[in-house]
């Protein structure tokens, strides 16, 4: 990473308190900062309740921090109105979840073009952009199929296409390969990696270290705080004595 690389998402000093059962304050996120550049994939790991999903929701504008800021491609989400946040989400941010990814009554290409349709883009233009996005993840030949007619791996590819259709540059994924077998899960991570390398930024929440290993770095959360960030070594040193 060099200083010249474009920042896609920047979270600064994020704190999130909730009111717990019985009225006591629960700290879900405690002073977490994170910057992700174009071409960078970051994994977030940690035990249940460590704040992983809360962090992802903050980055995606689905939840607002008690204090701290989130800026996505130059727009600060926390200072925005609900309508502005919603527009920023549609235009800049794509989500990939483990399941319930796609709308069953829409064809693959319609699922992918939906965020553009909602944003008022002309239908033919939205369809072309959706076909481009499907081509980039290798499932453009399935464009007119309904989700039910696709394999799990193909459905996730369509979801990745939707997450990065048109101007969207931030891909947020929560256990994106959870329901897939090991080899298909890896293929999906390869697609995520390729799309990020091609100019997007990604944040993946996962409990699976083998998936996190596709990232450039991994944050490990405990009790809402980052307790460790993975370091990289020189690969050659790993192979000695293998």
């Amino acid at each position: 990473m060099t200083a010249g690389d474009a920042v896609v998402v920047e979270a600064r000093d994020l704190v999130r308190h909730y009111e717990g059962v019985g009225g006591e304050e629960v700290t879900a996120l405690d002073d977490v900062s994170l910057t992700v550049h174009r071409g960078e994939l970051v994994a977030v790991m940690g035990p249940s309740g460590s704040g992983k999903s809360t962090l992802l929701h903050m980055l995606g504008g689905l939840d607002t921090p008690t204090s701290g800021t989130v800026t996505v491609t130059g727009t600060e989400l926390s200072g925005a109105s609900r309508a502005q946040r919603s527009r920023a989400r549609r235009r800049r941010i794509g989500y990939v979840f483990q399941d319930l990814n796609l709308i069953p009554s829409l064809r693959a290409v319609e699922n992918v073009s939906l965020p553009l349709d909602l944003d008022g883009v002309a239908p033919s233009e939205a369809r072309d952009a959706a076909l481009d996005a499907l081509r980039e993840v290798g499932v453009d030949h399935q464009a007119d199929r309904f989700p039910d007619a696709l394999s799990g791996g193909q459905q996730q590819r369509v979801a990745i296409a939707r997450a990065l259709v048109g101007p969207r540059r931030l891909l947020l994924a929560d256990e994106p390969t959870g329901a897939l077998d090991s080899v298909t899960g890896e293929e999906v991570m390869r697609v995520v990696r390729d799309r990020v390398d091609a100019g997007a930024a990604g944040v993946v929440v996962t409990h699976d270290a083998r998936l996190a290993a596709w990232a450039d770095r991994t944050l490990y959360l405990e009790d809402g705080r980052v307790v460790a960030t993975s370091e990289t070594d020189r690969p050659e040193s790993l192979l000695e004595g293998a």
Binding site: M45, P47, R190, R193, A209, R210, A212, A213, W214, A215, D216, R217, T218, Y220, E222, V227, A228, T229, S230, E231, T232, D233, R234, P235, L238, L239, A242
Partner: protein, 201 residues
């Protein structure tokens, strides 16, 4: 990795000089197991002595080696035999954690978190190497990398398990029992039998 069986397996393809055999072995394992010439020569000598290979003098040229029928049978058996997982190995992480747990001055959670980050960093590097190995010829190399990734993954899971145990205040030094296949076994703990079972799973 049994270098002896590995060299014999490569030799089943065609007779080779010792240096040729070393080159072929290293090419196929993409130098993950670099061998020195002395090691190859000594191993070939021992294979000849055991009747698994024969030396073929070739005039003034270096001796060529070829596999015998007994050698071929040995290689066939080796492909199908599971690798020996029962041998306890010294393992720094297990030793360090066991000692850390016994020492109230040590922040065990930090020890675990740092080790976890380092192991994950190694997995990231291995995965990067795998991403770069895209040629059909690279399949053996990719699978070798996967083997290392899975072993590191097992260590991460084990560390998560230890963290959980420590958080619940239940871990005692004698209870630490690594379960990572191919990785830690037996360094701290006691019950080698159980480790063998775990490794076999």
């Amino acid at each position: 990795m049994s270098v002896r069986e590995g060299l014999l397996a490569v030799l089943t393809e065609r007779p080779m000089h010792a240096y040729e055999l070393r080159g072929e072995f290293e090419r196929r394992t993409t130098s993950a197991w670099p061998l020195n010439m002395g090691q190859v020569t000594v191993t070939l000598g021992s294979l000849v002595k055991a009747g698994l290979a024969e030396a073929e003098p070739d005039g003034d040229a270096p001796v060529r080696y070829r596999v015998t029928d007994a050698g071929r049978a040995q290689v066939r058996a080796w492909w199908l035999a599971a690798a020996d997982r029962a041998t306890p190995a010294r393992e720094e992480v297990s030793i360090k954690l066991a000692l850390a747990l016994a020492d109230p001055e040590v922040d065990v959670a930090a020890v675990i978190a740092n080790q976890r980050a380092a192991t994950l960093g190694a997995m990231q590097d291995l995965t990067r190497l795998k991403r770069e190995a895209t040629e059909p010829d690279d399949l053996g190399w990719r699978l070798t990398l996967d083997r290392m990734i899975f072993a590191a993954d097992a260590e991460v899971r084990w560390l998560d398990h230890v963290r959980e145990q420590v958080a619940r205040g239940r871990a005692r030094p004698g209870e630490l029992r690594p379960s990572a296949p191919g990785g830690p076994a037996g360094a701290t703990a006691v019950d080698t039998h159980q480790e063998t079972e775990e490794a076999a799973r």
